[in-house]
Amino acid sequence: MSASLLEVSDLTVDFGAVPAVRGVDLAVRRGETLGIVGESGSGKSVTALAVLGLLPRAAAVGGSVRLDGRELVGLPDKELARIRGSRIAMVFQDPLSAFTPVYRIGDQIVEALRIHRPQGRAAARRRAAELLDLVGIPAPERALDSFPHEFSGGMRQRAMIAMAIANDPDILLADEPTTALDVTIQAQVLDVLRTAQRETGAALVLVSHDLGVIAGMADRVAVMYAGRVVETAPVDELFARPRHPYTLGLIGAVPRLDGRGGPLVPIPGTPPAPGTVTGCPFAARCPLVEDRCRTAEPALTGDDGHLAACVRAGELAARAPRPEEVYPVPPVPPAGRPGEEILRVTGLVKTFPVLKGTVFKRRVGTVHAVDGVDLAIRRGETLGLVGESGSGKSTTLYELLALTRPEAGRIDLLGRDTAGLDRAGTRELRRAVQIVFQDPMASLDPRMPVGDIIAEPLRAQAAPRAQIDRRIPQLLRQVGLEPAHASRYPHQFSGGQRQRISIARALAVEPELLVLDEPVSALDVSIQAGVLNLLQRLKAELGLAYLFVSHDLSVIRHLADRVSVMYLGHTVEAGTVESVFESPRHPYTRALLSAVPLPDPVAERARTRILLAGDPPSPRERPSGCPFRARCQVHALLDDARRARCEQEVPLPQAAAPGVDHLAACHYPDA
């Protein structure tokens, strides 16, 4: 075993009296990839920042961080600055806010180069262009003169990686580098990270909440919970035989692309507030808890590089149970058969003018946000709407909910055309369709008590007071909260609880169709599982139909009956979940599916990946023919005659075979 390049031992970080990191030990060897996985608040990002001394002054850092044997904790800023960016470099989560908005990308990379190696501007600029080329940014010379806001998210993250490897660092710290990105872009950026690592021979420390990303990238993994490492092991070992109940629960809570059905394993409760627990911080949520867990915090022990901080680790190692054998899994009643059709959208179009000017606005272009979308949902059915950002899926929702005549196309809700609604009709449909938003903090008015929030749709429907008073406790119980919660304010609840409040509000007026706009993507995995289970139960109990919008294909696979894939405002593929996920026909769907990382290192390594080229085109440009052809892996291999068809003719949705519920809008499907 070679000596560690970076050795973190007993690292502690306190913000005032609040401990954020409580004794973390990590070792990074030259060239390896260490994954640090954990949910929000686990202290994983703080640990990464503490290594570089980048925490705010209010943070008190203790313990030791050694780089090649040299102690970094307590080093003066000037000394540390010499190490930052040259020996240890960092890639941050949100590449938009991580670049200084007022300087050009090139100047920021040049600055990074010239801090550590004095050199002429021209030479540094040439080097910067090489770096941008290395990370796959087209026309690097021109890109150098762009401002950060002119880049797409994926391009910015590439540039950020270019800047990080500018000085050939020994260690690359990446803090959630792909969290803000779409899945196909995530696949590209992860690929760039691998390239960067290969080119520089640097060790990579990858911090992420996504088990799939970690499984695909890491050699070794450390799982963090409540400010400590609770388990660490080589990646295969960790996923195959977790020894900490928390790790086991996490693996069971993730919906998977390659398997379906059955409830997910929810880890009950929420992580403890820092500094409030004696004993094992996971004890309150652990199904295997014993009395001794509550008195003393178990140490991180084990053998063969597989350590776990649990008194029953040995037992778990020996037995290797599946998650659902350890965690109680709530029964989900079987859903009934789908009923009649309640929503049909045909040929929906929505454009936005691109305006310029302050007072006298003039139109300088058109965004074709939705450019021909077809949807159909039956009672008791879940339709998953999948697409990356800019695909028009949110616009589709908002057009639906506007209940007005669409720009083009037709929307039939409960058998009524929304183009010709009178007041009473609008009011009835406002009741029948309710929405749950992505961010449970933003979707609840912070100034209103929960009871008033839930009552709002009832009041809008002019329900009598007595009925409102009766409904509120009933609804709260239905989503797994206490009636007494009605008098509290949203900020007094955790994310998962807030999303439950959102659901209760949507259910208040007994809707028939629930529109769910990324309802779990703001939640941690262990919390997400509980909400998904709740949605499944409600659907079965109340016979609801769901229009479930998500960028997360695993969640769709888990929950939906049918799925519809969107790209650049078009529906490109639709069908039953089984058919679309098992045998995707459209090249885009295939690329999308291959980009989703699996939380299974063995399967992840065995997969062939389709990497799409570039970013999706701007919806302001409306390409002729097939909207996907510029990035299409199939199109690239066609002969000229067949290509011409993609360039000239917009492909229409075609069924795989007559009468089969599986459409694809591609001239050469299954190619």
């Binding site: 970080v13 913000f15 005032g16 609040v18 954020a20 929000s40 608040g41 202290g43 994983k44 990002s45 703080v46 990464a48 920042l49 925490l55 705010p56 209010a58 989560q93 949100d94 806010s97 803090d175 929420t270 992580p271 403890p272 507030a273 820092p274 500094g275 007072v359 909910l401 609008t426 009011r427 406002r430 369709v433 309710q434 929405i435 938003f437 992505q438 961010d439 933003a442 979707s443 609840l444 008015d445 912070p446 100034r447 209103m448 709002e456 749709p457 009041r459 809008a460 429907q461 007494a484 509290r488 304010y489 900020h491 007094q492 609840f493 955790s494 609880q497 509000r505 007026v509």
Partner: protein, 300 residues
């Protein structure tokens, strides 16, 4: 920022979690400046309204036997050029200035909240028209307009003056409210209300205004101080409160020339003015910290 948020303690979920009002009050009391400011403002109000009953002298009655006397046990703040008691005049002036400040702040904040929220929420032509109005009113320093109009208002008294001050004092606040509304309008809870079929004015009343209220409260507080300053400045140059009415501004105007020789004619009024505005600003600053959930004075 995300890393710092990452470590923030989880939101309190115990049933004993304090309500928002209590939280604000606790934080406000913790800020020493704001507490001091509040005490000073209270005392000044007490002085302004109880003061006239404490002294036997009337603010308007001249006394030619006691001209320009320095402060004494009899005349606490001395007397002026025609023997009027300066204490009686000062508390009377203070009273007028405070009332004017409060009324102006109230009116202009109401106007700003309404115009800003409507412009932001409805957008389109309503927004453009209202913002053109704002820009138009912002072109001239309000002093120019008030000074031009004020001779016409001689008969209408100080209430007209209040209206005039309020009319030219709401624009910048309205701009801020508008831009806050623009972002609130796209917030999901407002969207949710729209999709539930809640009427626009109800949304403004129940969702928009409560969510800009922190800002409006702070702004109104600071505006009280600003309005008192405008009042004194205009009155000083003869465009505001007019004799026989007195305000701090008219007192300062009367005392200026004699300040180097008879300082009591000038510095009592000046001192009270500065003290009051200072106290108001301290409260405003404390409120800003207490109402803004992201600010935290406890971490050094």
């Amino acid at each position: 920022m995300t890393a710092v948020l990452d470590t923030a303690p989880a939101e309190p979920k115990s049933p004993a979690a304090p309500g928002r009002g209590r939280l604000v009050l606790t934080r406000l009391l913790a800020a020493r400046g704001a507490t001091a400011g509040a005490v000073i403002v209270l005392l000044l109000f007490l002085l302004a309204f109880a003061g006239p009953y404490l002294t036997p002298w009337d603010y308007a009655t001249p006394n030619y036997t006691a001209i320009r006397q320095p402060p004494s046990a009899e005349h606490w703040f001395g007397t002026n050029g025609i023997g009027q008691d300066v204490f009686a005049q000062t508390v009377r002036g203070l009273q007028k200035s405070l009332v004017i400040g409060l009324l102006v702040a109230l009116l202009s904040t109401l106007l700003a909240g309404l115009v800003g929220a409507c412009a932001g929420y409805f957008g389109g032509w309503a927004d453009r028209a209202l913002m053109f109005l704002v820009d138009l009113l912002l072109i001239f320093p309000s002093f120019l307009i008030i000074a031009i109009v004020s001779p016409k208002l001689k008969g209408a008294g100080w209430l007209a003056f209040v209206l005039l001050l309020a009319l030219f004092n709401w624009m910048i606040t309205a701009r801020v409210v508008r831009s806050m509304t623009l972002s609130l309008r796209e917030r999901e809870f407002v969207r949710a209300a729209r999709y539930m079929g809640v009427a626009p004015f109800r949304i403004i009343l129940r969702h928009i205004l409560p969510n800009v209220s922190s800002f409006l409260i702070i702004d109104a507080t600071v505006t009280v101080g600003g309005a008192v300053m405008s009042e004194t400045a205009l009155s000083y140059f003869g465009f505001g409160v007019r004799p026989p009415d007195v305000s701090l501004g008219t007192l300062l105007a009367a005392g200026t020339d004699q300040a180097p020789v008879f300082p009591w004619l000038f510095y009592f009024a000046a001192g009270l003015l500065v003290l009051f505005v200072l106290a108001i600003n301290l409260i405003g600053d404390g409120l800003r910290d207490a109402l803004d959930p992201t600010s935290d004075r406890s971490t050094p």
